[in-house]
Subunit: 840 residues, 2 copies
């Protein structure tokens, strides 16, 4: 199998500050050009060995220490001073006056009685000059050479740029936002000139204007066609910030941009200049509210949505805040495009020996993040924050976390599905259509590698034969023998139980049938009788006791096992059985920006209405197993439907096959509880099958290890949604899925609706109707005994519902009721099988 995407290991990076560069400059003695020329003139390439700028020396040192990536700020304090001088008002009027007076005194002018008046004129002139400078800059933005840290293309090589973090792209003030946008475009244009690949953007700070931040980022992606942008974002909004005093806000010096309501009072709100405190003041693992945990993700969701899931936009997750002890709410980051992890030395704690280590939740989170193969940016690691180990201890520790992460361990352990699937993670494959297409020998070979599946089949056949009435001759028929793996297993089972068994092997693929003939000659001899043809049409010489087939797809019935076995059932004795005897399809709601983008990038418009076979990796199952108090929802992964074989109640025609395929139509409506906010991108589909008795096959995430551990043959199915659906914390997702059929095809259609269950005040109907939407009565358990039929059909008496609502509310300690408010839906996917179907 080919390697499809990102490098198999995480990277390490270090980040330099302006101070680091300044120190390097001070200690840097420029090599004399003449000495240089005399010594190295015959070795032009050797000049590289002796870096000739401070930045080059810093980079070389970092590379020697093993860092693959070096992060560097692009602009110097000079640029900040110039920009602020042009675009911002002095931070207070008093300061401004003081500055002006200072200036006036120094120049020694206007020391007469009219000083004040002259001062005003002078101040106005300064203001005008500043405004003119700003406007000239806006007309032609550009740097002076001492405003940037690097000027040469060799200095920029392999550098990840840190964009000026004082740029407030989401400032309250329209003017500051606008000038920050121009400054950002200027930095990116310069970075692009220097052939820099990636720039890390300052974190958004202001939920109110995150749409503006996002619009700017989208514009930059459009204007700088090749650069990758990464949004730095603290993993959540830490409580610790709330206790910090906010610095005074900057005021815009430019012309007012109208009287937009959001602008006029901008300067009255406070805005902290630091998003994340480097020294956490609250203990690690302290309880944080759902809202705090969600706040930064919610901003990210707005940003990447406004940027239309641009693949050049990634995340730099800042792990400065201490992580909570339960990571459930953080699992959402698995579904996002995390490219960097920012990890300052301050996040590390000292172990008993004084070496830097990470708290347990941070360890676990970083291990989980290894599915993204991120580059870990170690910051502030040269200042000896920890007594032992030195700088190298931090890198070693991160490498240790990588090696001990589940994803890396599994990938290296042969026999696991993760090892088998290397390179196929999150890669979309069209499901096989073995009924319509004749499979290739290579395809058979791949699936025959599965040791577990065939072992399970042999065990099922063995048990069925053992339990068969003693003394009877048994007729087995392998329907769909392929290249013969089940024939071999069937013969092994027969050998083990020493029964009198006849074996027929049916196959419709003429190419595979050649292999079967050869194996009969070389291996099986008279023990097996081969029959060539479609099991739905061909005749078997004698009635069959055990019909053995391997026609299952990732979703159970999706390769038309029900229809094929319906057709083969006619040669089964009335007492005959089928292996498998039944199978079920299962679904869970999924978030994955990667899979959404992959599905979107398909060749045609229908690519988002087609199920795919996928080995999931950068995904997050949105549903929770823990029941919400209402008890309306099922578990995290829910069953859709079942097929059983043989099927007795179907009306047959004179050929013994079903008159119509209507009995194989199915539908399911499932309710999922969404504990943490996320974006629905699709549904994960799984199957379970009972082969015989308690021998089964399963790819259900919760049960596969019990039923058929390390089975390799099936990756899950992915049903994409065309429009991502936002699901708030505590919402309910109702998924409808249909299996439909006509004379020639079988297909699935799917759809989802979202609801929010909200609490209402004890008796205040008026307030209630002001705060929430359509009231849907919860059903009364006295009229509907089954929780599965416990629907929100609205034909209930209000008295019944009110009583029940009150009971629920009382049991929760509150005095109010509940309402289920509809909040969104997707479109219907694949109507009429227009985008995807399976041929009969």
């Amino acid at each position: 199998m080919a390697q499809w995407h990102h490098s198999p290991s995480a990277g390490l990076a270090t980040v330099f500050t302006l101070d680091d560069i300044l120190r390097a400059s001070v200690s840097f003695i420029s090599p004399s050009p003449s000495a240089d020329a005399s010594t190295h003139s015959h070795l032009p390439h050797a000049q590289k060995e002796q870096p000739d700028t401070p930045v080059l020396r810093l980079v070389k040192e970092a590379r020697n220490k093993g860092y693959e990536t070096i992060c560097l700020p692009l602009t110097t304090q000079n640029w900040r001073d110039r920009w602020e001088g042009m675009c911002l008002l002095p931070s207070s009027p008093a300061q401004a006056s003081a500055l002006e007076i200072d200036k006036v005194e120094k120049t020694g002018e206007n020391q007469d009685d009219f000083g004040a008046a002259h001062l005003t004129t002078d101040a106005e002139k300064k203001k005008k000059d500043r405004a003119t400078a700003a406007e000239q800059w806006r007309a032609r933005p550009g740097f002076l050479q001492d405003e940037v840290t690097i000027t040469r293309i060799d200095e920029a090589e392999g550098i990840t740029l840190m964009i000026s973090d004082w740029l407030e792209l989401d400032a309250e003030d329209d003017g500051i936002r606008h000038d920050a946008e121009i400054a950002l475009q200027q930095e990116l244009a310069y970075a692009s000139y220097l052939h820099i690949q990636t720039a890390i953007l300052p974190a958004p700070r202001n939920r109110s204007h995150v749409a503006s931040y996002a619009r700017v980022v989208n514009n930059c992606l459009k204007n700088t066609p090749y650069i990758y942008l990464s949004v730095r974002l603290p993993i959540y909004n830490p409580t610790i910030l709330h206790t910090q005093a906010a610095p005074p806000v900057q005021s815009y010096a430019g012309p007012g941009l109208g009287i937009s309501p959001d602008v006029t009072n901008a300067s009255s709100s406070s805005l902290p200049s630091l998003l994340v405190s480097p020294v956490p003041s609250s203990p690690s693992g302290s309880a944080s509210s759902e809202g705090e945990m969600n706040a930064t993700w919610e901003m990210w969701d707005v940003i990447r949505s406004i940027c239309d899931y641009n693949t050049r936009l990634t995340l730099t997750l800042d792990l400065t805040p201490p992580l909570p002890s339960k990571l459930g709410v953080l699992s959402k980051w698995a579904a996002e495009s995390v490219r960097y992890i920012f990890l300052p030395a301050s996040t590390f704690i000292a172990n008993t020996k004084g070496y830097p280590v990470l708290p347990k939740p941070t360890q676990d989170f970083i291990r989980d993040c290894m599915i993204h193969r991120p580059t870990v940016i170690l910051a502030d690691v040269i200042t000896n924050k920890h007594s032992r180990g030195g700088e190298v201890a931090y890198s070693q520790y991160v490498k240790f976390l990588e090696k001990t992460s589940a994803v890396v361990r599994n990938a290296h352990q042969s026999g696991t599905v993760e090892h088998f699937a290397q390179g196929y993670q999150d890669y979309l494959q069209a499901p096989l259509q073995p009924l319509m297409d004749n499979l290739q020998s290579m395809t058979y070979q791949t699936f025959e590698q599965d040791p577990v599946k065939y072992e399970r089949y042999e065990e099922a056949i063995f048990r069925a034969l053992q339990e068969w009435p003693a003394g009877q001759r048994v007729v087995c028929c392998i329907a769909g023998a392929g290249r013969g793996p089940l024939v071999t297993r069937c013969l092994s089972a027969i050998d083990r139980c020493k029964r009198d068994v006849s074996v027929y092997a049916v196959e419709k693929n003429p190419n595979a049938y050649v292999t079967l003939q050869q194996r009969k000659v070389r291996e099986w001899g008279d023990r097996v009788k081969l029959l060539f043809g479609d099991m739905r049409l061909l005749e078997v010489p004698e009635p069959v006791d055990i019909l053995i087939s391997e026609l299952l797809g990732s979703f159970g019935d999706n390769e038309l096992s029900p229809e094929c076995l319906d057709g083969a059932q006619r040669f089964l004795k009335p007492t005959g059985i089928s292996i498998p005897s039944s199978y079920t399809a299962h679904l869970a709601p999924l978030s994955s920006s990667k899979l959404y983008n992959e599905a979107r990038s398909g060749k045609n418009a229908q690519s988002l209405e087609t199920p795919y076979v996928v080995m999931f990796q950068a995904v997050n199952i949105l549903s929770g197993d823990k029941q919400e108090p209402g008890g309306r929802c099922g578990p995290q992964i829910q069953e859709c439907w079942e097929f059983e074989h043989p099927r007795k109640d179907v009306i047959l025609n004179t050929q013994g096959t079903p008159l119509t395929n209507n009995h194989n139509v199915r539908s399911a409506r499932l309710r999922f509880w969404i504990p943490h906010a996320g974006v629905l991108h699709g549904l994960a589909g799984y199957f379970e099958a009972i082969l015989y008795g308690n021998v089964g096959l399963s790819i259900h995430p919760h049960r596969k290890d019990v039923v058929s551990k390390d089975m390799l043959s099936w990756f899950p199915l992915f049903f994409p949604f065309k429009e991502p659906l936002y699901l708030p914390s505590g919402s309910e997702l109702q998924v409808s899925i249909w299996r439909l059929t006509n004379e020639r095809q079988v297909w699935y259609e799917w759809h989802a609706e979202s609801f929010l269950m909200i609490m209402t005040t004890p008796g205040g109907k008026d307030e209630l109707s002001m705060y929430s939407g359509g009231r849907q009565n919860l059903p009364s358990p006295t009229t509907i005994p089954s929780p599965l039929a416990d629907d929100d059909a609205f034909f209930r008496t209000p008295a019944q519902s009110q009583k029940h609502l009150s009971q629920r509310a009382a049991s929760l300690g509150g005095g109010g009721g509940y309402e289920v408010v509809k909040i969104g839906h997707t479109s219907l996917h694949n109507p009429g099988g227009r985008s995807s179907w399976i041929g009969l």
Copy 2:
């Protein structure tokens, strides 16, 4: 102006029942074929005069009574009996046994001791026979001739078909649903064979399976390419239904369709067979909850969404339920595709004279519905429910309501914008680009028809001149004179105030400049000096006191008035003024399935990212004026930004024009309160301008009649959204809009996010976090004085926020807090001006 769409008046229809047809059949004496032949053989067309089937006679009678449309059920009781016999189990096992015993006794067989056993066999055989019949029907669905009411193409002419109302397309049971779908397809195929244009579908009854109902409807639209389908729907879910006993549920006789969770317990839930009680038992105008009022609309929303807003899918609004006295919640139907109104005689009350009239709320609602030009289906009007007036009284009353509706009255009243706009309602027009394009004479002519606009301009000029310092000569310049309407008005104002005024008229359109030259020669003479050229480039011979322009678009600045006047400002004296002196842009969130479909049907993919000029009709403004208790939201229609002229603080180049256009960048973020659930399809854009003093122009719906009543020149602007956004009752919509610019273009970008403000329990943080999403702290008014800056930025101390939340909760009588939960967003529209821009 051309008529663009539907007929200018509503239609009338009557509906016949199976009983009506039966009665017509009984009283019908078929004309003898021989007599027919002898009498009419020389007049082949005269046969039509004497209808030769009961249905034809009923239709002829109805047409004679003035009904344009006749509604008829297609299938007879025979079909229902056959379908139920095949597809349903007898309603209880006891009944089934009784039936079988009855049958056994009649045949006189098996009266021995083994009767029970034989009985079982016999019952099983019957069951098998029924199942076989059903399966044969499913394989080849079709009617017998006595199962349908019409068989001939002439009988079907002009008929609107009522689909069998006992078909449960949303039954709990998968099998019943599936067989109902086959039966529906069969009816529609037959209707299509008879060339019937429209069929009315039975109402959905079951919120839980409305997605299945909708999927079936979508499939029918696909399979029957020309037919129009109309979903019958009670206008809301009336409380009265809740007190009715539900009839026993039907059980499916076919093979089980798997064990899907929704199926297994289907028979245990109750399902009423009638959605709407014909005799309301609760008084009209009684209080109904928001949920009851929304329930059926919510189902409609799912249906039309799943059907992807198919234009062949319409609504038949059933007005059987009594309407509430406040119609606010019902205004949502204005935005939907209402084609029929079902109005039974039972909805009418008797006036003091005994004539049938409608309750006031129903009158108002039907008058409002006239924007749809619906066909009103009068039902059950021949049974003399009211003592006076007879059948004709109902039709006359409906015609009276039509004539007295605002939309019909305005359309007929010359001078109103509604009269002027006839044929242009809900028709999307690309906004003019008068700067980039030179307008046609016909376009000038249309706009010069506006009597109000130019009267306002004359008044503004008159007042400005009157208030000008006495004795001074005044220089006026009309910037963008077009064909000269403002020149004429300016001269009138000068004549009225008798001042010494010089008038310059600037125009850049060379074609219009010919008209100006001609008017100067014929009308104005030396009073006016003409200048040819772009106002941003040309020189005016002397400094100007009053700069007069009419460069405004529907959204104020959207025809680049700011940029043009910036360029013209250079020839204004420092004391000079501009008419208009300022203008503002305003927005409101809008729902309209018609506009959504119109925008979608545009030629290219960008048609949903372009603003349009539209005369709104079938629309609903989603925002409410009544403040929600949190006080976070603005009014129903909100101001985005303002432009003022002349502008003093802009940095100019040596030519006197601005160095850059950055000062004309704008952005706004607006918060709208959504009282009733609806679907956001776009934004309505309006402008207001101050010409001079208190003389203005306005198309703001709340103020236009005060400021500039009956002004015709501007229809509102419509900013569409690509993806309809569902907004629950009590939600908050945050709209971001940006006015952006580069050297060559100006464009708008827009985006929206939705939130739900929900109540939480008094102290239960755990319960709270289980029921709701990201907690966003409400800001404390002590730190942020302005309500406009009152943002949900999350950098507040928890203590501050908690205190404020508690204060708010206490003021509402509850003990809990509030949370603002994000529930959805749109994409960013028109990024970088990729789909629409205005050329500079």
